[in-house]
Structures are given as C-alpha cells and as structure tokens.
C-alpha cells in the first residue's frame, strides 16, 4: 500500500491543503507533469519542509489518522484539538482523506485504488473521529499479516527497556495499526527496542534474523556496525575500534535505532515466512528525520533509507537544509505560514538537489534572496536558536556546509580519543 494523495480541511491550523505523494513506480501523471527528470532519483521519498510550528507534522498526522480511521473507535486513539480554532465563525468539523494504491500484499490486485476518509466532529468539549469510507478492505482488519502496512514516528519517540510482558500489555491497550503510529499522537511512548524481540529470532528463525542484522547494518551510518551479539541484555555495536553496548551510543544513534528497530519489529511480525523483508511495501512516516542526527549524517540519512528499503514509501518532515540538499524538488513540499494565519503547502519553484546548504537557504525553498546578509543572518538565527535548545552543532553544521559546498562526503563519527578524555578527567 502507498498513499497517492492527501486532502485535509479545517485540521488544526490548516483551512485546507492537498498534496500528491511519490511512491515506487508512480507514473508521471498530471500531479507531477512539470517535473523535468523522471523518475526522480529517490522515487519513494516525500519531505514536508518547514519551521517548527509551521504545520508540517499535522500533514503526517493527517495521513496516519485517515489510515487508522476504519478501526479508530477500538484503536485506543483519542482525538484531541484536531478541529481548527477559527477566530471568526464556528468550525465544528474537520476532514482528512487519503487515496491509496493497493497491492497483492493487501489482499487486492496490484494497482487497485481505494480512498480512506474521516471526519472529526465536535460535541460539547469532546471530538470524535468517524470513518467516512464505505470501501470493504477485509485484510485491513487482520492484525497478524503485512497488509496495509504503515508506521509513523513522532518527534518524542524513544526506545526503552521493554519486556515481552510489556509488549503483551501494550497490545491489549492499542490496536496494532494504531500502535504503529501512536508516537505521532502520544508523547514519550516507548518504541519496541531490538533486544525485546530480536534475540528470540536467532534460534526460531535464523534466516529472518540474518536479514535483520544485514538490514540494520545497511541502515546505519559509516563507522557504526551492529554486531548482533548481546551482553547483559544489551546489543553490542562496533563504534570505530570500540565495542560498545546500545546504551553507550550517543543520542543520535539511539534516536535513530529506536525507530528503525521498531520498524523492523513490525516488518518482521507481518512478513510471511520465506519472504524477503526488503520486498515488503508500505508507508513509513518520520517526524523530524534530522532529530539528534549528526549534521554530516543528515546528508546521507534519506538516500540510505530510500535505497535500502526501496519498496517502502517514506514521508518525512524536517527543517534541516542539509537534508534538503540530498533530494529533488519533486520530493519536497514547503509548509509555511500563509495569509490569514493558516499554513500553505507548495512545491519549491527551484531545484534543490546537490546545492550547498548556503545555496538552499538562499533559494526560494527557504525564501531568502541572493544577498547573503541579512537574510542569511535570519536563517542563521533559526539555527542558533535550534542550538540553544540543545541541537548542538546546528549553527556550526550550517556554517561548515555553507563554506564547504554540497559535495562534501559525510564524515565518519569517531570516539572520544584518549588525550581528550584525559583533559576531561583532570581536576
């Protein structure tokens, strides 16, 4: 299953919006007719680009809500503040709809189309999400196969110690399809860490286990490898010349492994035995893909995901110019504040692929003109503000790329060397 098209009305800050999404094998139809180079380099990648609070996350949420709508009443999801607050007049409903392309994996013929729509209504202080579609999707209501596969990861995602028991409890509280997107809606919900499920597969299904190890290693940035070995219940990683447990990896790696591990878990659970995991189709949504990610790694993260899981459709949000330099115009939607205090969604007018971060900032993607100062300063400010909130390296990353141009290969992460550590230990 892939999502072809999304429409929303009166959802959070949006009055209305419509976007067409890329997915593997999409024909160059009317929605993409002005794209010069087809197929695009990364034909399965969609990025919503915008500042914090621009509404880009709402677009991800809308896709997820439309997708869970058929089972929402028994999913464990509770709608909250979905309907737009109008300054004038009263808005009592919101709507979202997705057009889907289905496959054999979903129990339909490859290329079948379907539409899932939902309406949010307000009664008193409470909002209700009601499915509006009448299509019959039998396999949708199965929980144990790979049909209608979609996952979504919110910005507060994290993985933490979770036992098999915990997993069972979670399953009782939330329907699987909702659980797979629940971090988009619930803060600080734990994802399923690798060590909660992968060890068992080493014995039960060594073939599948090997696939997971290989996949993980393809998905990790240079300099880090997954050993597949456990020590005191934690998986070990090669980090340069060191062997370190998961818990000793820096924030960026853990943040990434948390959702990638959870994704592989859900992928493994559904995929029929004997099938290759990379053949699975589905939709993967990640809010703020650059979260905690080292600046250099931001340049490779999307191409790596796209090429490794080439049958998956990706929908990301980001505010990082480094991420944007690795994709093309057709992959991007700008989300920015438009007139009447409502977000506006549009494709950038200019090509972005291969530009340096500096060039991208000056291109219309970020809305800056070619005189570097003071617009440059304005953007730098956004980055320094990000750095003030803990995204260390944000301002530097930008500066470096502005001076280095776009062609710089991603540097390898490295461990703290002895001499540096010694100074730290000095009293």
């Amino acid at each position: 299953m892939y999502v072809r098209h999304l429409e929303i009305r009166d959802l959070r800050a949006f009055r209305s919006a419509a976007v067409d999404l890329l997915y593997p094998g999409r024909e160059q139809d009317a929605a993409f007719e002005e794209v010069v180079r087809w197929p695009v380099r990364l034909p399965n990648v969609n990025v919503f680009l915008g500042n914090n609070g621009s509404g880009k996350s709402t677009l991800l949420d809308a896709v997820a809500l439309a997708l869970i709508s058929p089972l929402v009443s028994s999913s464990g999801y509770r709608p909250q503040s979905l309907i737009r607050r109008a300054s004038r007049g009263k808005v009592d409903t919101a709507e979202m709809a997705v057009d889907l392309v289905l496959h054999e994996q979903d129990g339909r013929a490859d290329g079948d189309l379907a539409r899932l729509a939902a309406r949010v209504e307000r009664r008193g202080a409470i909002e209700f999400l009601n499915p509006m579609s009448s299509v019959i999707l039998d396999r949708y209501f199965e929980e144990k196969d790979s049909s209608f596969f979609f996952v979504g990861y919110g910005a507060s995602r994290r993985a933490e110690a979770l036992s098999a028991n915990d997993l069972a409890t979670r399953r009782r509280a939330r329907a699987v399809r909702y659980e797979r997107v629940s971090t988009l809606f619930e803060d600080h919900l734990a994802l399923v860490p690798l060590n909660a499920w992968l060890p068992g597969w080493a014995i039960e299904n060594p073939g599948r286990h090997k696939q997971v190890v290989t996949l993980l290693n393809k998905l990790l940035p240079p300099g880090v490898t997954f050993t597949g070995e456990l020590e005191a219940g934690e998986y070990l990683y090669n980090f340069r010349s060191l062997v370190v447990p998961y818990t000793a990896l820096s924030d960026g790696y853990r943040a990434y492994l948390s959702w990638v591990g959870d994704l592989l878990y859900h992928l493994c659970m559904g995929a029929p035995s004997g099938s290759k995991l990379v053949d699975s189709r589905g939709v993967i949504m990640v809010d703020e893909i650059d979260l905690h990610i080292h600046p250099a790694w931001q340049r490779s993260i999307i191409p790596t995901l796209s090429r490794t899981l080439k049958n998956m459709q990706f929908i990301f949000t980001t505010h990082s110019p480094l991420v944007v330099s690795t994709i093309e115009r057709a992959n991007i939607y700008n989300v920015e504040m438009g007139p009447r205090a409502t977000p506006k969604v549009s494709r950038p007018a200019q090509e972005t692929f291969g530009l340096s971060a500096d060039q991208i900032l000056r291109s219309d993607v970020f809305g800056l003109d070619s005189t570097r100062d003071p617009e440059f300063a304005e953007k730098l400010r956004t980055l320094s503000r990000a750095a003030e909130q803990g995204e260390s390296g944000a301002a530097l990353a930008f500066l470096r790329s502005a001076s280095a141009g776009g062609g710089e290969p991603p540097p390898e992460p490295s461990a703290v060397p002895d001499w540096f550590q010694k100074f730290s230990d000095r009293s």
Partner: protein, 299 residues
C-alpha cells in the same frame, strides 16, 4: 562578553584618564555644564572623547566590549575602535525597530523613545567603552532598551541603574554587570545562562539578540578558532616531553585569560569538556570541519 578583571572603580578610571590626558576631565566638565543648561547634547566644534580612547582599549585588551572581537592595537588600529556611549547621548530610538534583521520581538516593553537621550552622560567616563563597528555603528547606535519607564534627567549612572532597568549588559567597571552570570556558550553558540532567572534572563536574551551574538559569521568563526586552539593545547598536554607539556599548560591559561579573543566561549568550552566529554568532542569535530572546508584531512 566578559568583565575585565579587576573591574575599575570610578576613581581608578579617573586616575588613568588623568595620566593619559591631564586636562581632559576639566574640559569634559565644562562641556557637560553647557549641555545641562541647554537641556540637550550639542557639540558644534567636535567631540573630545576619542582623546581618551586608548585608556579603554588597554583596559579591554583591544577587544570589543560586547562581542570580544580582537581589534587593532593603539599604534596601528585605533580607528577600528569606536568610543561607545552605553546610554545614548543625543536621542533614544525604539528598539527593536520594525526593519531590523533578523527580526525580534518580545512580550515585554522595551522602553519609550525620546529626542534628548542621556545628554548629561555624553562626557561621563563610566558611560564609555570601546566597541567594534559591528557592535556600535551597525547595532548599538541610538538604542537603549530598558524594562519599564525611563528615569528622569539628569541623574548620575548609579542612581539611573536603580531608577531604570537596562536590558543590555554593560560589562565594564564596578558599576557594570558580570556577563558570566548571564550568558554562557555551547560550542560557538551564546546561550542564556541556565542560572539566570527573571529579569536577568531577559537581559541575557536581549543582549544576545541586540548584538546578534549568534548571527554574525565572523564571531562564530572566531569562537570556532578558539575552540580548535584550546583542543590542540589539550592534546599537547599529553605529550611525552615535559617541557612541551609545560608550554601547553601556559598557552592554555593564556587562552582562558581575559586577554584572549572570545574568552567567555573558551571558558565555557573548557568546562563542557569536563561535564560532557562526548558533546564537547562532537563540537570539536564540527569545529574542525567548519574550519577546514573541502576534502577532509585525516585525523
């Protein structure tokens, strides 16, 4: 931004000025008297504050008082320094102004404009500091944001500081502020010090915004160089040769001293190495890459 140690009391500053220009204070007093009579600042025959500029340059180790950029020394670079009036002498304009880039806005008042400024402080030696053109001519100009109402004229600086709340930090002299309590750095980025609360927080934020401490590429580059320099000395501290180690220790102390460029940033980074070695290392790697663009050198 740092406060140079030890901060001078008014009498010490007067002594230094007298040593440099014996007649200056008498002349300044005469001119101030005419401003007081006129109720405004007017200087038809040119000002004389540049005559004592070297006193401040020396106090500040030839660095800008606000951004800690190193400027020229007395013989060669006097023109790079502006004598900065902390409280504007001629008029006070509204800040932030609408066309300012990058734009800033606050949910608290930043003071009302007026046409006469703090005219009675035009020749007050405790109202002076040396600053770079970027901080003074491009940014400071006739602005002086304060929280709440402006004090009535004419009042001396100590009373003024009690009667009105400046939003900018002034890190000079015993009457000034110690920026280390307000602003710290994470890598090259200036941040509000976590220990600063209430009005102190606002002052730190406004000062960072006002002087664009995080938006000026030249400042970020300076800080990056200082961090690289610091790290190279840290490495040298582990050298086999004791003489080499001793030299490193000396350099290290120099880098963290008041006299060095971006000393506040250097101090914060040295502290970060001790409290969060991993983050400090990542920042160092960023700094390395920023300072050596193009193909990366093997480390």
């Amino acid at each position: 931004m740092i406060r140079h140690q030890p901060p001078l009391a008014r009498a010490d500053l007067e002594a230094r000025i007298d040593a440099r220009a014996p007649a200056w204070r008498a002349e300044a007093a005469k001119r101030t008297a005419t401003f007081l009579t006129a109720g405004r600042f007017a200087e038809p025959n040119g000002s004389i504050w540049s005559d004592i500029k070297p006193v401040y340059m020396q106090l500040q180790y030839n660095k800008c008082i606000y951004c800690e950029r190193v400027l020229g020394a007395e013989l060669t670079g006097k023109a790079e320094h502006d004598v900065e009036h902390f409280r504007p002498k001629g008029q006070v304009k509204t800040w932030p102004y609408a066309s300012r880039k990058p734009s800033v806005s606050y949910d608290f008042p930043t003071g009302t404009p007026n046409k006469t400024g703090y005219y009675w402080l035009a020749y007050d030696i405790e109202n002076y500091a040396c600053s770079c053109k970027g901080c003074n001519s491009d940014r400071k100009r006739d602005y002086f944001p304060i929280l709440g109402p402006r004090a009535a004229a004419p009042t001396d600086i100590v009373s003024l500081n009690k009667a009105e709340q400046p939003l900018l930090l002034f890190p000079s002299g015993t009457i000034g502020d110690d920026p280390a309590r307000f602003i710290t750095f994470l890598g090259v980025v200036a941040q509000v010090h976590p220990a600063a609360k209430g009005v102190d927080r606002l002052r730190a934020q406004v000062t960072i915004d006002f002087f664009s401490l995080n938006d000026r590429e030249e400042l970020l580059a300076d800080r990056a160089r200082v961090i690289r320099e610091l790290a190279s000395k840290m490495r040298q501290l582990q050298d086999k040769d004791p003489a080499w180690r001793a030299a490193a220790q000396q350099d290290l102390e120099q880098i963290l001293s008041d006299a060095s460029p971006q000393a506040a940033c250097a101090r914060a980074y040295a502290e970060l190495v001790k409290t969060d070695v991993q983050k400090a290392w990542e920042i160092y790697q960023d700094v390395q890459r920023y300072l050596s663009p193009g193909p990366r050198r093997p480390r």
